[in-house]
């Protein structure tokens, strides 16, 4: 804005004030642009760092699983060799010791596999799409029935359950939740497992419910910790990574998971994605 020589004084003051304001705005504008550029640069840098770290972790996990498994094979293999070749010269106690060695080796193998899976889940690229969870659950249950045809398990899977998420990761999550329901009802002659959805407060919540061993809610805080278990391995086998994996998956979808249970009264796991 320009004030001419014949412009009244008050107007001149106004014009100067506006000009001053404009200059301020232009300055702020420039500062904002520079700040945004700086931020974009930092984000690019962090993204590149994250990508590099991920890649390193990937090859680290890969090496670790490879290199840790080889000695396990040796321990298991040669323990069995001793049992096979010298078994009759050993008493029952000695044979028992070797069986413990072999069991521990197998367990370590499982732990390595589970840790690798957890790491992979944390790193995997997510691709969101419409996923039919009903069909997924039905397929998982069909597989479970194949592994143990003798079990009498009633599976109630609600129709038309869909979710927006990564199909592969959701499969891993449901595998774990339904697999757990199957496992922790195994000591009962019959079992009932449900998979459904509810909409309390308008938000969609999915749930897997079973009537099995349940757990003591006093220890609920440990439920999702990696390698934390609420049951002994002689009661129910497991490495304690399953629920940690599910939680990771749910969190990556921006959702939550929680559970309700009582001892020998079953458990219900709720999650959102």
């Amino acid at each position: 804005m320009r004030a001419g020589s014949d412009t009244p004084a008050e107007l001149k003051v106004l014009v100067e004030a506006f000009n001053e304001m404009l200059a301020q705005i232009e300055l702020r504008d420039r500062e904002l642009r520079e700040a945004r550029d700086e931020l974009e640069r930092r984000v690019e840098l962090r993204t590149a760092e994250l990508a590099a770290a991920n890649k390193e972790l990937e090859s680290f996990s890969y090496s670790v699983s490879h290199d840790l498994r080889a000695p396990l094979r040796s321990i298991d293999g040669f323990s069995l060799a001793v049992l096979q070749d010298y078994g009759e010269r050993l008493d029952a106690e000695a044979r028992g010791y070797f069986e413990r060695i072999r069991a521990a080796t197998r367990r370590m193998g499982m732990l390595i596999d589970d840790m690798l899976n957890l790491a992979r889940v944390a790193r995997a690229e997510m691709r969101r799409e419409r996923v039919n969870l009903t069909a997924m659950a039905q397929a998982i249950v069909a597989d479970l029935r194949k592994t143990d045809g003798s079990r009498k398990v009633d599976c109630i899977i609600e129709e038309n359950i869909v979710a927006d998420g990564d199909a592969h990761l959701l499969r891993v999550a449901l595998d774990n939740l339904l697999g757990n329901a199957w496992k922790y009802t195994s000591k009962h002659p019959t079992a009932r497992i449900e998979f459904g959805q509810a909409q309390p407060n308008g938000h969609r919540v999915y749930f897997v419910k079973d009537d099995g061993a349940g757990f003591d809610p006093a220890y609920a805080a440990k439920l999702f910790g990696a390698f934390q278990r609420l049951h002994g391995s002689s009661d129910f086998p497991g490495t304690g990574v399953g629920l940690a994996t599910v939680q990771r998956i749910v969190q990556r979808h921006g959702g939550r998971i929680w559970a309700e249970a009582a001892v020998e009264k079953g458990a219900t796991f709720y999650f959102t994605v």
Binding site: Y62, R69, A70, P71, R73, A81, R106
Partner: protein, 149 residues
Amino acid sequence: MTDQVILLVEDNPDDQALTLRALKKNQIMNQVVVAQDGVEALEYLFCTGPHAGRNPDEMPQVILLDLKLPRVDGFEVLRCIRENARTRFLPVVILTTSNEEQDRVKGYGLGANSYVRKPVEFTEFIQAVKQLGLYWLLLNQNAPISRSA
């Protein structure tokens, strides 16, 4: 059948011993040639170095190939085997700890016939070797050895 040679490419001496044991447990009496790494495997197959006097018309019936090997790794060995007219059709069974998808894809991409994961548990391994033996030594028919190149 027992004049058929098995070429085992494996650097880990424990795994060598366990594989030989598994073969024996399954009454597989074939001669097993053990190569400690990719270089030795290629020297055997192409009759060079310490194997310079070997008859090039005699090729192994099947090659059990580990992937992680010092000097020249499993993939490189596989590539060389498939590139050479004399060895192009030799059955190669990748026998490795890795179950990584990328390794399976790369292995099949380079022309492996089969991909078997080495189990940690030895009884499972004995079973796996039994099935490999039955298939590759008894059931499968190899391509005739090419005398060109």
